[in-house]
Structures are given as structure tokens and as C-alpha cells.
């Protein structure tokens, strides 16, 4: 993606917003300039803090999910026996929308940080686990044979075949599920807490009918998602350049 194209697309969206705001002309739809002013004004007055809290929650969940989901997926993908044992369980758990467990998680883990981190972790963990498992088990037996025949034992196979084969897949899973993670975060932060962008949007601005501030919060949450997506995309291009070549 060209940087210039991205800038043009962003400008186009802002202009469309401006036009709609001008036509509709109601105070529930402030124009981008008013929201920009509110955004800059709100940043030092709490918005930046809420942004950092939300960012920390997502990043902590991502780190936890990658640190557990990749090894678990690799273990299942390498061992047909383990996979046979666990795949029915995963088959049942994978499609359940994890967000419905939120009340239960709140009961068990309380309303503190860890319940929010845990619910996002749950969402990401299954995505990463399934993708890494499928990627590892789909490696061609010929590839494994030929690397084994070069003298690779289990550890070298893991280091030189399974790991490089599955880390890019884990990043793809992350890139796809980062949006869901933030949606879940938004919901989890919209009650029983006093920090985070969800709280800022729902309680601090929507609740007080402070529309420009509410939009500033929405913009901040969108930026958070965009930034995470961008970081994962960059990471993937850096770690797996071969995925982006045209054969």
C-alpha cells in the first residue's frame, strides 16, 4: 500500500464526513474540525491516559495470546496424536463468541485489569492456536523428510521449519483478529471500570451528551486499532518477506 494512497483515502473520508455533517447539521454529528479541536483539547485532560490504558490491555493480551497460542498450536500441529485428543474440544470452543463469558470472568477474576486482559486473550488465543496448528500440520511431509535427511533432529526441525513456517501465520491471525480484540475491549471497558477508551466514550462523554468528546474517543479507539494493525503488518513484512512476493 502506497503511503500517498492512504493519505488520499483518509482525506476523502474526512471530506465525506464534513459534507454529511454540513447537510444533516445536528449536534449529534459534529464535523471533523470540531472533533479535531475536541480531540486535541481532550488529550491532556484524560483522553491520552485512557488511550494508554486501553493500549496496555490489548498489547498485554496479544503478548499473552502469542506466547501461549503459538507453542500450543505448534505442539498440536506436530503431533497427530495430541491433535486427535484436543481437536474435538477446540472444535466446540472455537466458534463460541468469547464475549459471552465476560460476566463469568468478571465473577471469577473481578473487575480489575486481569478480567479485561483475559477476555481479549481468550478471543486471540483460539484464533492463533487454530491457525498455527493448521499451518504446522499442513507442512508437506516431503519438506520434513528432506530437512530431516539433512541431519535435523526434533529441535532443529522446530527451529528451522516449524517456527518460521508458523510465526507469519500467527501474525496473519493477529492482523485479522485485532479488530475483534478492540471491539471486545470496548465492550469490557464500557462498564464496571473507570479507565480505558470504552469508559471514556460511554461513561464520560456519551453519558454527559458531550458529543465532540465522544467522537474524539471514537477516533482514539479507531487510531488504536489502526496502529495495532499497522504494527502487525510491518512486523509481518519484516519477518516474512516471502509472503509478499509475486511468483
Amino acid at each position: 500500500m502506497q503511503r500517498r494512497d492512504l493519505a488520499l483515502a483518509a482525506a476523502g473520508l474526512l471530506i465525506a464526513w464534513e459534507i454529511v455533517a454540513l447537510i444533516v447539521h445536528v449536534d449529534v454529528l459534529p464535523d471533523p474540525i470540531a472533533v479535531g479541536v475536541a480531540f486535541v483539547h481532550a488529550l491532556p485532560n484524560g483522553l491520552a491516559w485512557h488511550f494508554l490504558v486501553s493500549a496496555w490491555r490489548v498489547v498485554a493480551s496479544v503478548v499473552l495470546a502469542v506466547a501461549t497460542g503459538v507453542p500450543a498450536g505448534l505442539a498440536l500441529g506436530q503431533s497427530p496424536r495430541l491433535n486427535r485428543l484436543f481437536s474435538p474440544i477446540i472444535y466446540i470452543l472455537y466458534p463460541i463468541p468469547k464475549i459471552v463469558f465476560l460476566p463469568i470472568i468478571l465473577l471469577f477474576l473481578g473487575i480489575a485489569e486481569r478480567s479485561k486482559i483475559f477476555i481479549i486473550f481468550l478471543v486471540l488465543f483460539f484464533q492463533i492456536l487454530v491457525v498455527v496448528r493448521d499451518e504446522a500440520s499442513a507442512l508437506r511431509p516431503e519438506l520434513i523428510y528432506s530437512v530431516r535427511s539433512l541431519g535435523a533432529g526434533r529441535r532443529a526441525l522446530f527451529r528451522f521449519v516449524y517456527l518460521p513456517a508458523t510465526v507469519p501465520a500467527a501474525l496473519t491471525a493477529l492482523r485479522i483478529s485485532v479488530g475483534t480484540a478492540i471491539a471486545v475491549l470496548f465492550f469490557a471497558e464500557s462498564f464496571a471500570t473507570t479507565s480505558g477508551l470504552g469508559y471514556y466514550i460511554i461513561v464520560e462523554s456519551w453519558g454527559r451528551l458531550a458529543y465532540p468528546e465522544m467522537y474524539a474517543g471514537v477516533a482514539a479507539m479507531s487510531l488504536l486499532g489502526l496502529m495495532l494493525y499497522f504494527v502487525v503488518d510491518r512486523l509481518q513484512r519484516w519477518l516474512a518477506p516471502w509472503m509478499f512476493i509475486r511468483g
Binding site: 516431503e142 528432506s146 541431519g151 533432529g153 518460521p164 509472503m243
Partner: protein
């Protein structure tokens, strides 16, 4: 170099492929192994490579059973077995990196150390890329190069180890005719240069006669005894154009026909 003594091998729920099969290969010999599909010729290579274990009897390489693949045995497969995420250079250098990875590891038990040797240098990687004529492709990924170039990469990777045994499982059968002849000639040259023992599995009579100084014929399974055709001129330059080449081809063809006929009679009985 290789001794197979009274070996029996069966895949689960299938008829046996080998029954008390014995066969010997001496160092520096160039063998071709030919036979119909399903005769067990690829399995024979996998058994020698240590990727399969016989149910009875022994498979010895340099006097030791092969409990696991040895780095000193190279294996070239029809579909190359290259890492799709690594460039040509990185694919060949994999052996160097694995040698470094295992540098402190000793052999467990008796027999040769199975790990790639430490101390391979980037210069040696470059040397083999040069020799195989793929130095210009060092930064390309496998998806960006032709089948012949991929197979050259796989051969360079195997030869970087200085193998004493090279096993090739239908290495050229998915290549077009010209590339195939090119690589057959290269294989004959490399054999003369390195005197590595080679076992080439093929279903092509022409290829077997061109590259196999001794040709092992496998018929319908189970294989019990080794049938061998001697073909000492194989691998010499220009062999394909000589009358002896055509004579050997027809000798091999009639031997295969006889075996097929025996197989049919056996199946009918």
C-alpha cells in the same frame, strides 16, 4: 557402503513390500533403481535414509543400522523439499546453520554422528551455488524460480555436506525433457567430481541406463531377491549417443517385461 540383510518391510494394512530382501552397494557405485509404481523403490530409499525402519532384518550404512537420518546421507526428492520462506542462498546455507546449531552435540550411542558438520563457511555455500549454476539466483525465493533451478538448489544443499551417499527419489520426473537431460548430465558430472555413492530411483528406462552403472530391478512386491543389470559405461560423456546405450535400454526393457509377466502369472495363480 550399504548392506541390506534379510530385510522385511510392510506398511500397516498392506501386503509386504520386501520379504527377506538382501542387497549390497559398494562405495562410489552409481546405482539406478527401477520398477513399476508401488514396487517399493521409494520405500527402499527411505529405509536407507533412516526415515523408515524395517520390521525384520537389517539395513546397515557404513556398518551401522540407521536409527535416524544421517547428515552424511543426502536425499533429493521429486518435489525439492525447499523452505518456501527462504531464498536460494538461505536454503543452501540451512545446512551451515544447522551445523552451527548442533556444534556441541555429540553422537548418541555407536555409529557416525548424525548431525550436519560444524565449520561449513559461507564461501562453501557460494562455491556450490556457483558450481550448480544458480549463483545469480541467490536472493530469489523458490516460488520465483523454475523447477530445474529448484532441483539445482536442493542438490547444492545436499552436496554442501560432503555426503558419502546421495539418494535421489525420481528427482527429475516433474521437469521438462530438456531440463531433465541437462540435470542428468550434471548428476553424471558431479558423480565423477565427488565420487559420491549414488542411488537413483526412477521409472524412466532411459534415465536408469544413462546414470546407473548397476541397475536394480524391482518387480511386483514383495521383493525377495535383488535382480541387477550391469551397465559399466553409464555416466560417461556421450553415452546416450552410443549403440551400447540402446542395447542396454532394450535389455532393461525386456527384463522389466519378464518381471511384469511373472507378476501377472503370480496374481492369476
Amino acid at each position: 557402503m550399504i548392506q541390506i540383510e534379510g530385510m522385511t518391510f510392510t506398511y500397516p494394512d498392506r501386503p509386504p513390500l520386501f520379504e527377506r530382501f538382501s542387497w549390497q552397494v559398494a562405495a562410489s557405485e552409481a546405482w539406478a533403481i527401477i520398477g513399476p509404481s508401488g514396487c517399493g523403490k521409494s520405500t527402499l530409499l527411505y529405509l536407507i535414509a533412516g526415515l523408515r525402519q524395517p520390521q525384520a532384518g537389517r539395513v546397515l550404512v557404513l556398518g551401522y543400522p540407521v536409527a535416524r537420518p544421517l547428515a552424511s546421507t543426502g536425499l533429493i526428492l521429486q518435489d525439492y523439499g525447499l523452505l518456501p520462506w527462504a531464498t536460494v542462498w538461505e536454503n543452501v546455507a540451512l545446512v551451515m546453520r544447522m551445523g552451527h546449531f548442533y556444534r556441541h552435540k555429540r553422537a548418541a550411542g555407536s555409529g557416525p554422528r548424525p548431525y550436519p558438520r560444524a565449520g561449513i563457511t559461507p564461501d562453501q555455500v557460494d562455491h556450490w551455488l556457483e558450481r550448480l549454476g544458480i549463483a545469480g539466483l541467490r536472493d530469489a525465493y523458490p516460488a520465483q524460480i523454475s523447477g530445474g533451478q529448484r532441483q539445482r538448489t536442493a542438490i547444492a544443499r545436499s552436496l554442501l555436506q560432503n555426503p558419502n551417499l546421495l539418494l535421489m527419489d525420481e528427482p527429475f520426473s516433474s521437469l521438462d525433457a530438456l531440463t531433465r537431460e541437462d540435470l542428468q548430465q550434471l548428476t553424471a558430472e558431479l558423480r565423477r567430481e565427488t565420487s559420491v555413492t549414488t542411488l537413483l530411483v526412477t521409472h524412466s528406462i532411459d534415465e536408469a541406463v544413462y546414470l546407473g552403472q548397476r541397475i536394480l530391478i524391482l518387480g511386483q512386491p514383495p521383493a525377495c531377491q535383488a535382480r541387477v543389470i550391469e551397465n559399466p559405461e553409464a555416466g560417461s560423456p556421450g553415452y546416450r549417443g552410443r549403440p551400447a546405450f540402446l542395447d542396454r535400454c532394450s535389455e532393461l526393457r525386456s527384463a522389466l517385461d519378464v518381471l511384469a509377466e511373472e507378476g501377472r502369472r503370480h496374481a492369476a495363480a
